[in-house]
Amino acid sequence: MQNGNPDDGFTCSPQWRISTRPTAAKKHLADALAPYLYSAPALILIVTVMLVPLVLGISYAFRDIQLLNPFSGGFVGLDHFRTLSQDQNFYRALRNTLWWTGWSVLLQFVFGLILALLLDKPFFGRAIVQALVFLPWAVPSFLAGLNWAWLFNPVVGPLPHWLFAVGIMSEPNNILSDPQLAMWGPIIANVWWGIPFFAVTLLAALQAIPRDLYEAASIDGAGPVQRFISITLPFLAPTIAITVLLRTVWISNFADLIIVMTNGGPADRTQIVASYIFTQAFKRLDFGYASAIALVLLVLLITYSMLIVVLRQWLLSKD
């Protein structure tokens, strides 16, 4: 900008130069900074409380960190991983994790999809039904766990008696103390608790499908099953893919129900990797070893996610 233009009375005045230049500069600065000011508090918090601990946690995996041992803290290299490779409990937890995650996701998804389809049709009282069937989602996970643990308890819960009555069990015992069956307890609680998540997500996707597509298809003579296969499923597919992927990762990390219901028992039959990490950190206060397991779990999960993404890419490029 040209200052001191003789035609312009304003420009010549020295006050004008002093007062406006800095405000212009200040405005530019403020404009440039504003977005960061809005997001800074959230970012600072995320970085200090999540990112820094994450990096620390990774470093712990290579150090000897035991809370009760004041002489710990030294660098131990890959020792934890060597121990881990010999740790039968870890391998059992890994197998249990597969079992736990696979069944939980599968059942949640199937029942969630059915529920979403049921709720997609308008009917009298749908709003209330929707509120009621989604209620388990609001139940705190620890309470869901306790609640189901009590239901499985023959003293106060009806389930063992019912199972006994229909002949599934030879006597009304607590399945949570039966090594063969114990894992089904947390799985059932998890399914109960997680159906709403799938149902809500899929319902929203269902409702985003343009209604006139269905009308067009019926006019073209498609029956309900054909409509489901040729319209509903293709539309839902992306949502299903991403929800199942995210949920799988999430559930394999979800230790609350197990810690509350069985605490890994009986005989470690329900110990999953996430609860194993927690047990190492919380009970044995061996943070180094816990971090090493956590790091392995993280790597496994990242590998899994990558595999899924690559697989999806490959499937997409095939057709």
Partner: protein, 277 residues
């Protein structure tokens, strides 16, 4: 044709009914046991409703246990977390929705990353970080941790609500004489109230339910939250089912109230955020 229709409608309603029953039965049972007097607990253990009900368990829990403290602690922690997270997430979500942020990609990537890794990884390092600051065994520490955990998702959620509000509105306000921040406060925020309610409810419920970190960070009874209190109660007095379930009902109430208030927004809003996040 009509007979077929009736059958299909009937099947639909029955299926719905089965879902409602499955969803509500455990909660119903919790309530039932909590109002069953001790004397009838074993004799009428699996009857659908006891022949006599009483509130003796609630009375005991309220008067002779530390649950009121736990309840208060949980309320403080969850309430503060919800309010702080919603404020931070509104600001950050607004920035993501409205500004051409340089480094936006990295911010989003960072937030997505935090949704991806197992939080159990952080149990040990967070404990180690907080204990020299005196923030273990303290409600403040819990609020800080929970706030950080919930901010990323809440930010995505708020962003999707802001994205739904036309940019014209705040431009009109700025031309009318508002600064960007005044336009944000007076025009955009009021229009995002459903989103704010959904975020508040979501975060409150999440904080109310959190177990692992409160188990790890809190040891004394003074700062124990409801989950920790209930769990220690369970391991100590694992036979007093009536009292435990009465406490359980108390833990259920705030979360369910919040949920019922906001569930219609959740269905609209959460999914948008959930699919994106």
């Amino acid at each position: 044709m009509t007979a077929k229709r009736i059958v299909s409608v009937l099947a639909h309603r029955l299926a719905i009914l089965a879902y409602v029953a499955f969803a509500l039965f455990p909660l119903y049972w919790l309530l039932k046991v909590s109002v069953t007097p001790n004397k009838l607990l074993y004799s009428e253990g699996i009857k659908m409703w006891p022949s006599r009900t009483s509130f003796e368990h609630f009375e005991f829990v309220l008067k002779h246990s530390e649950f009121p403290t736990f309840f208060k602690n949980s309320l403080i922690v969850s309430g503060s977390t919800a309010v702080i997270v919603t404020m931070l997430a509104s600001l950050a979500g607004y920035a993501l929705s409205r500004f051409n942020l340089r480094g936006k990609f990295w911010i989003v990537a960072l937030m997505l990353l935090t949704q991806m890794f197992p939080l159990v990884m952080l149990v040990a390092p967070i404990f180690k970080m907080l204990s020299p600051l005196g923030l273990t065994n303290s409600l403040t520490g819990l609020v800080i941790v929970y706030t950080a955990f919930n901010v990323p998702f809440a930010t995505f959620l708020m962003q999707s609500f802001f994205d739904g509000i036309p940019k014209d509105l705040e431009e009109a306000a700025m031309i009318d004489g508002a600064t960007q921040f005044v336009a944000f406060r007076q025009i955009i925020l009021p229009l995002t109230l459903p989103g704010i309610a959904a975020t508040l409810g979501f975060v409150f419920t999440a904080a109310w339910s959190e177990l692992l970190f409160s188990l790890m960070l809190i040891s004394g009874n003074d700062a124990a939250t409801f989950p920790v209190g209930l769990l220690s109660f369970v391991s100590k007095f694992s036979v007093d089912f009536g009292q435990m379930m009465a406490a359980g009902v108390m833990a259920l109430v705030p979360a369910c109230l919040f949920f019922l208030l906001i569930q219609r927004y959740l269905v609209q809003g959460l999914t948008a955020g959930a699919v994106k996040g």
